[in-house]
Symmetry: none
């Protein structure tokens, strides 16, 4: 009858509601941080209880902030997406012309080798998930890098965004699950970059060796 407060949504997204009290925000962040760590280590089947314990809060607190395990997982993703997107902006400015895409991919794969979640995330690009908004941002960002690199002649013209995302996803999964070390990472990426690069006929070709 009295609709006063709408049933709380099941996403755990504070959205634009009211700003959380300082202590609540601290806890929320603590929980996300630890959750990220826990799920990174043990995969998404790790128990919410453990997240709570590591964050130093009671189980109820976790569920107050994220009414569902799914919601917690999604919150983590959203955070990740945002961080990736920031990184994207920085790169667009800083990287050597034409090398932006490579720099970005390298960076992401490096992280993936440590964080299980990055991988799970990447797998969702191209798919849906309720995180749609930030997801599109990321796609857009990557596309910018791609186009820029192609303009600089560093990446073949016929490469499309889809393939780049596919490669990124695959490489991250690999880096994570197979635990590539820094060297293997570098060598593997080199091969892929070579494939993306296309052949400037002359110079680059004569290196003869993958560094």
């Amino acid at each position: 009858m009295t609709p006063s407060k709408p049933t709380p949504d099941r996403t755990g997204d504070p959205g634009t509601a009211r700003p959380l009290r300082a202590d609540a925000r601290r806890n929320r962040e603590r929980i996300i941080a630890e959750a990220e760590a826990v799920f990174a280590e043990k995969g998404p089947s790790a128990s919410t209880e453990e997240v709570a314990a590591r964050a130093g809060v009671a189980i109820g607190t976790v569920f107050k902030h994220f009414p569902t395990k799914q919601a917690l997982l999604q919150a983590i993703m959203k955070g990740l997406l945002e961080r990736l997107h920031e990184e994207l902006s920085t790169l667009a400015a800083d990287a050597r012309p034409g090398e932006e895409l490579f720099a970005f991919v390298t960076g992401v794969v490096e992280q993936a080798a440590r964080k299980r979640t990055v991988v799970t995330l990447l797998a969702e690009i191209g798919v849906d998930l309720q995180v749609a908004g930030s997801l599109q941002l990321l796609r857009d960002g990557i596309e910018t890098l791609l186009v820029r690199s192609q303009r600089a002649g560093t990446v073949r013209e016929d490469v499309r965004l889809d393939e780049v995302l596919a490669l990124l996803t695959g490489l991250c999964h690999g880096a994570l699950h197979a635990g590539w070390d820094a060297d293997l990472q570098r060598r593997t990426l080199a091969i892929v970059f070579e494939g993306l690069r296309g052949q400037p006929e002359g110079a680059a070709r004569s290196r003869g060796s993958i560094r």
Copy 2:
């Protein structure tokens, strides 16, 4: 306690013990087959109970053959490895000279897009797991393909087995989790193969476009 009962090994590997009765072997195979299907569909967290049901046996029977869920999972892997290895031998004989590695990778990735387990398996290559024996066989087989392709000048000299495995793993994970369709698979592999191929300066280079 009962000294006459030999401690069952926890691997579920019948090894060289006594040859299973005919019906027992039939059951064992049926279980593995269905387990493969179930885990492929629902991931490794699918329930053993379901495997039993689909195989048409009682849960006890599954645990008789594989004293642990882990053991069942490992048995599946071993089977996979063996099949991959066979495929390898065939390819070594059948593929166009120099294209063996590509053919193999293509084949495996194709399967991965369907079968969750292939991927999980590949992630373990280079890592340990008790399946070491067959694993080495697979590595060896892939190495053969690699060398052969390099001799034919189709794959760059400086590419090493490790990178090939890394790429294979990554590509499979990607194909599986991101659900690549046939076209995306082809385009993505094309890029990677281009990277592996290196540029024999002339001919191959002039294609200009990824098909």
Copy 3:
């Protein structure tokens, strides 16, 4: 421990303590009102949290006024009892002579078909509960109606208060849980009233049909 803090009674009854501040009283009433609605809809297992939300106050406020869910439930009952009692007085004055009891029962059952709480309440009449005081008032009121109806010859002499209460309770439960529609309600009550009425030998008897 802190000797200055008087042990709060667990009834939530402000009693004769200090008169609540105006806004506090407003809140108290708002809470009771919404609680009634919520429990009516979802039964007594509805969450206190929801009551708070609908009343537009924080959960703490609810527990400030009613230190226990039980206390809240009891407060609702007390309110109900009081309202019923008022209705009783009105009826005593307004109804056609001899029909007061029937009018009252009809009214209560009608409400019950909608409000879960009325029922729960009625079930407690004759039983205990800390609401004893108002409860007695209600019994008294109903007794007055009964006696009056008996004097008018509309209700048999040998019917006692206990049976009336029993019937009332039963009918309300029925009306509520089985969701009687208006027609079924009328027909069912007609039978019961017939039973209460007894047969003044002549006149009334000849109707032959329940309306």
Copy 4:
């Protein structure tokens, strides 16, 4: 893929599947029996854990037999319905002509005073629930009694099944929740029966008092 065994239904109804092993059936019955007792005492919000404890089995066993708490509740109901229906048949044969309906109602209300579940059940008559089948049987049985009593002239012609069920439901709720003692039960039923009986003009009418 292999449909071998259909996903187990969520009703916990062994149906016509395979006959349970002797020990399993023993447990199943034990569980239902104790569940009936527990829910009778504490209402349907009593914990499944307690049922398990009282039945002397592990919690998993309860859920194996009844995959849902709902399923357990329904199984209890079905049992009750069957018992009621048997009772119905007996009565049809044994009761004094014309008194069958009264005898049945009396019997059911008597039980209700003890068993919470009977009440909950009755509330469902006329409503749905998946127990439809047995439910219809019960309705039919009661209708038979009604008709028979009407033929004997003991129950008014214009009384319909709906009202009988409504009264039965209401009386049971009352008997249960208000804890009527034997005497109150008798007196209350007497009033209702009087209402159902209608007035044989002469004899019965002159009793003047409800016994």
